[in-house]
Subunit: 460 residues, 4 copies
Amino acid sequence: MFFQRLKTPGLGHNSYILGCGQGLAVVIDPRRDVDEYLHLAHINELSIAYILETHRQEDFEFGSAPLAEMTGAKIVSGCHELFGHTDIKLKDGEELKVGTTRFIALETPGHTPESVTYAVYVEDAGDKCWGAFTGDALFVGDTGRTDLPDPEKTGENAGILYDSVHDRIAPLGDQTLLYPAHGSGSACGGNISARDESTLGIEKGSNAVFIKSRNEFRDHKLAEKMGRPPYFRHMEKVNLLPGRPLPLSTLQVLKPGDFQSRMKEGLVIDIRSPEAFAGAHIPLSYNIWLDGIPAVAGWIASESTRIFLVVESPEDMEQAVTSLARIGIDTVEGVLVGGLETWREQGLPIAMLGTTSAVETADRMQQEQVHLLDVRDEYEWNEGCIPGAIHRFFGYLEQNLPQLPKDSEIVVYCSVGHRAGVAASILKRRGFMHVHNMLGGITAWKKLDFPLDTPDRTEK
Amino acid sequence: MFFQRLKTPGLGHNSYILGCGQGLAVVIDPRRDVDEYLHLAHINELSIAYILETHRQEDFEFGSAPLAEMTGAKIVSGCHELFGHTDIKLKDGEELKVGTTRFIALETPGHTPESVTYAVYVEDAGDKCWGAFTGDALFVGDTGRTDLPDPEKTGENAGILYDSVHDRIAPLGDQTLLYPAHGSGSACGGNISARDESTLGIEKGSNAVFIKSRNEFRDHKLAEKMGRPPYFRHMEKVNLLPGRPLPLSTLQVLKPGDFQSRMKEGLVIDIRSPEAFAGAHIPLSYNIWLDGIPAVAGWIASESTRIFLVVESPEDMEQAVTSLARIGIDTVEGVLVGGLETWREQGLPIAMLGTTSAVETADRMQQEQVHLLDVRDEYEWNEGCIPGAIHRFFGYLEQNLPQLPKDSEIVVYCSVGHRAGVAASILKRRGFMHVHNMLGGITAWKKLDFPLDTPDRTEK
Amino acid sequence: MFFQRLKTPGLGHNSYILGCGQGLAVVIDPRRDVDEYLHLAHINELSIAYILETHRQEDFEFGSAPLAEMTGAKIVSGCHELFGHTDIKLKDGEELKVGTTRFIALETPGHTPESVTYAVYVEDAGDKCWGAFTGDALFVGDTGRTDLPDPEKTGENAGILYDSVHDRIAPLGDQTLLYPAHGSGSACGGNISARDESTLGIEKGSNAVFIKSRNEFRDHKLAEKMGRPPYFRHMEKVNLLPGRPLPLSTLQVLKPGDFQSRMKEGLVIDIRSPEAFAGAHIPLSYNIWLDGIPAVAGWIASESTRIFLVVESPEDMEQAVTSLARIGIDTVEGVLVGGLETWREQGLPIAMLGTTSAVETADRMQQEQVHLLDVRDEYEWNEGCIPGAIHRFFGYLEQNLPQLPKDSEIVVYCSVGHRAGVAASILKRRGFMHVHNMLGGITAWKKLDFPLDTPDRTEK
Amino acid sequence: MFFQRLKTPGLGHNSYILGCGQGLAVVIDPRRDVDEYLHLAHINELSIAYILETHRQEDFEFGSAPLAEMTGAKIVSGCHELFGHTDIKLKDGEELKVGTTRFIALETPGHTPESVTYAVYVEDAGDKCWGAFTGDALFVGDTGRTDLPDPEKTGENAGILYDSVHDRIAPLGDQTLLYPAHGSGSACGGNISARDESTLGIEKGSNAVFIKSRNEFRDHKLAEKMGRPPYFRHMEKVNLLPGRPLPLSTLQVLKPGDFQSRMKEGLVIDIRSPEAFAGAHIPLSYNIWLDGIPAVAGWIASESTRIFLVVESPEDMEQAVTSLARIGIDTVEGVLVGGLETWREQGLPIAMLGTTSAVETADRMQQEQVHLLDVRDEYEWNEGCIPGAIHRFFGYLEQNLPQLPKDSEIVVYCSVGHRAGVAASILKRRGFMHVHNMLGGITAWKKLDFPLDTPDRTEK
């Protein structure tokens, strides 16, 4: 029985391809770039017969339609009206048989109203449920956030999700293998485990949705404060439609002079590491480290932003373009040939940023006027910060700059230094002259046993 | 938490690499070619700190020693005397902590006396057992064979295994993920599921060791008749020693004339499909289809046989050489450059074999004297055969030829046609002139609803 | 200076990508699947600025238009009216400067009327010509065929080509590197060297166009008898248009039963080796070995034939589909999942073909009535054949079957056995019952010093 | 005829594999990691029969012996005594026939006394020479340096080399393809063309050895001032012996704490870009950018230096280890797991370097006391420098530090910024506190039309 999890880096997204007997396969929650599903089907001599959607994804663009077009597969979902574009709509409890494998659709709302879990029964595993494709209802170590459909109803939806998990999923039994739509790193859950392999029995002993009471769980969800990147709105629209294949690449490789002219039409995104960006970068560029593109770019750019990339290598460029396409951004127009190296060889202007360490920052705080800026998510900030820091989530920073003189000394930090790099590039764009990225972030600060504060005691 | 199963094709062998926190990893039951473990450790930025052996493997050569040498890892096992070469010997119930992960050694004899299961507890999965590396004690859908240490004690060992599974493994709980040392296609179990993903709870509802009583299980194991390839003896010896790295490749690519001279020093193995071999082959060569090498070659060749290969492509050659090395055969001395094509262009002698289908065979049986030869394993033969067939397991065929005139018409069959290809090549070598491979085998025969017989009613 | 030759297997086609300084590159005579050019440009940090066409190719579909669309490059040609779709039309002797590199267009008709050679001058090689992209005017060891525009004018065009080479190309100097559009294996020249590296000076000492007189050369070209596959007409049409990108893959992986139903809508092409096809195949299928697809498929299928493939592996399938697309055939509709193995396991009908060797054939010719059928190109046949053979070029065989009883013993041969495999499959389709492929072909026959005859002394 | 050039990045080394007919191949001047030759031979179905050495290489370790051991090939050379370890010693003018291809050894001393050129004649190229493997006698656009055997005899050897090229190589004819042992980027020639494809005829019109007189050429060689990395001495020794295969990898992936302890045993080499190193690095580490390792590492480390690497990715690590092995350094003992990111997350100390641009430097020179340090090769320095700069070749910098106060402001530059990064890391190690790397180097300075000076007018 062929079975494989495909992880989408940076989005924490899991999709799956499952051989079902008789040469047939299903794909669960495919992403937009569908080559890998086709390839796996080919080399395992399987025909993709059905595509199962657990819910309308908000954090990436679906690949159901292009995959269906290429394979002739039918798109399957629950029967909620948000599944407008699907071919087969299963009622609650209804079975789909594929080859020798049976899928039972279970309505499991809470994360979103249309969410469905597919309980899977395979031929040689007896009568018990083999596994469950739970979408965003139940993750390893966490559950889907409940604030997306309506932030006002976060608590109410938490209760609905609690009931979905307890009444519909838990009865499948301890032995059930758990295959959710996201793993760690997803914007759809704040505390997903870095481990992919789990079962319902394991979750029952460790997951908040099981070890808390219904009320405690509601409070727990109400306390979750996760950002909602602006591109989610676009995904909500796009994923109502039959879906779009990847566009033909028309990316232009630009020489430094041409890049300099063209870059004024849009935004420059420099995908190198924070250290390299600090060392030298093109003035006014944003710094989004490569692996952070899926999670961060949707805060900076929209589907109509013209994007110009500064990259370290062609492979990095290709990954960046695919990562952007996965969140619906097809507007990368140019890339700087040869990266920053060719730029600086032309004598074109470069800018630098400061870097610093936790030790050095602590020293400076004793001696001089330094402003600390924490740019993490609100829920991270709430768990403890550096004494004296102020907080601005990096995603809202450009619209909500700190009220500080442009020549003040600012040390930016996040957990380890990547998001602080994004924030530092934003501050630099906005004219702050002395910006330093505290590399290692609060992780290093804690390792050194430096003091922490709780936000309510600090300036907000 | 990085975790990956590595499957060794043709052997049905599973090894595993598991990230344990703090940048450390363990490898469970590594094979001899260890590059892939090193590569996975590198790209996941892990240091391999321990190598866990579940038992002394009999069907392939261990890679513990070369992997330890390359990484500085310690080799871990139970404390049975057969684990003479290991660095750390865990007592029954003793814990090994690696990073944030805990391994508890459980003695689970039955398949072999020294067999150990490692129960794994990971940091964020609560108190329950996360998964178990069960070696050959418990497979998905099956258990390890119990005839290997002593065929006379098959039943006794079946009882011991039954107790190991029920008393030591079952208590770990339904939620426990199951990670055995073999999957389907292994010579260590006759009925392993083609599915890799399972849990103890799933097995409890479907695996013979759980749904049969202790006595029924013993009878079940006694009825299992699996071949024991001669190379197992060599593996038993080799796996007592500290292990050998892959040898430097000294394979010679030979021109047809040189191949013809050299091949007399050893055996010619033609790794093409049965159809291609039937179409044309070098006289006196053996036909072992590529994916069958790990399971079949140990019946034909020993660790001191000089081997000359006929291949379809260089990739196939490389796979063949690696497959042979995995079962301890490092003596491939030459390969025919350009495969059979260059051979026949030189006007060198070629031979052919007949092929036939189930329909044609059934027709011929009505009209003329045809001898049917079933070359499957004894347990397959016992489940039903073509009326009038005689049985010779292919592994013993060359020492136990059918008592038929050399000019009789012989139709050889197995399940689908691969092992029949091996057998046909053996008969041809031994002078039988009219040998036909019934392609599709008994699988096609059954699809066509042709009659079956039980062996005791046929000539044996 | 980045420079790379890209060979298209089976077509003997060469295209090139050349870095020209200042981050710019040109591609010469691109094929339809343009990914590789884009990839090479990316990793070498080059922007493809121009696409140079040497002539309207007749044996494969051009990729100029899709490559231009993806890169913004301009398509460059000579100014003959057959270059209707190009952006820049260079006059004879006109220069195109790209970066620091200069290209001079030279009109070199003969193979086709619009043929152009591009003489290249690079910055650091002094004043002498560095290399020449000669299209089909001058190959390594040969020249382009002169019968394509009008078979009646083969001799006349040979003279024109002779003059093009002597008057326009030869003066570039002995030192000039030679970069033609085809290498060995092309249908555009019968005797192209298997060596890719040459210079004008080397050709002057060895190429027929240089070592023969103008009249001798004309006679030489008149004696060339090369087949003209029917798909050339389609290419002539397609390559007048702006070009088509590769289609989206909609290939269906079919189970044996579905394959059996669907295959009646079109043709079954079995891409395995002649030996494997002989061993067993689906009745009525054609046998075209994988690497022979580009050269052979255009004789069997047109751009509107629905094609169903039998393959050995998924990689082979992908190569087959790409090979067909390169000659304009986008109509592969299905592939048999798992190849012939799954087919025969269902008990579905299979057929066999005979194989034989040169030695065995010679023996049989002494003893019984055997008909020999030579299916090579006419020019090969003219150079010598087996005594008593009759000739039918495989490309015309289905329309021109030999006048023999259906139950006669027929031995088919070609040079080594591939084209004989195609022919044997055609004869089998047409009801000939006893067809044998003489593996090794006339190559083996000659190695054995068996007698040859000249065709005029044999039945034609 | 299979033929392929294999380039070794960073060394500018070319080796070649040439199919010679009859299934045989030769390899010319192989490097130490021989997998690629074996792989190419396999997929082209060739048997490597001979290994040809043009001279005892000084800049990399030969792979002749391991390749011979793996293939059974014979090692071929000229008959000078420095070729002590070879199997076949050809006299001047003596022929070696391999398959259908002929090699004539021509003694062409000058770069080194034992240097040999192999003139190659292939079957279908007529009587003229097809190509020449010239070793370091004649490059594309340059010749081998003549100072290596004895700096005192640079001029004398230049004359000998001039005669070798004119008397032995030039007579092979304009049409001869040129295949030297090095391309651009080599330490064996200062001005080798970035173009790989050339012929003798092209060189005759553009190469200094042809367009200068014998005396002019001698002066030209005398004026060449190229560094001689210390590891050359080791190569001279090693390449007299039968050669060493690549060692088994025993590289340890170290956690930050372990790395910090272990790194004191040797040197830390940080292989990231100069920008990234400037942004943050481990105190006292050297910065050698990845592609610069073959050319630079031999100035910093010897064959007995214990090396600890800081890398960006596992692929980079593997390239670094291979690059070091190619110059005979097998002593990489550890790599920092996860690169600098894990280091800084532990709160461990980091250091920074300044970066600057040409514009900013020019501004600062107006306003304050800035010391400019040029670290290029002497011959580059002699061609023009920034006014006021002092010169220290980076390779000798650590033994020859500038006489400046440790707290002075120092701007380091090279051609574009890589070697300046090496030099800046050395200065930082030696206690200079305010070091800035002028990114873009003198290349940017010139693009901006800033003034240049000649060294003799500046402080030396």
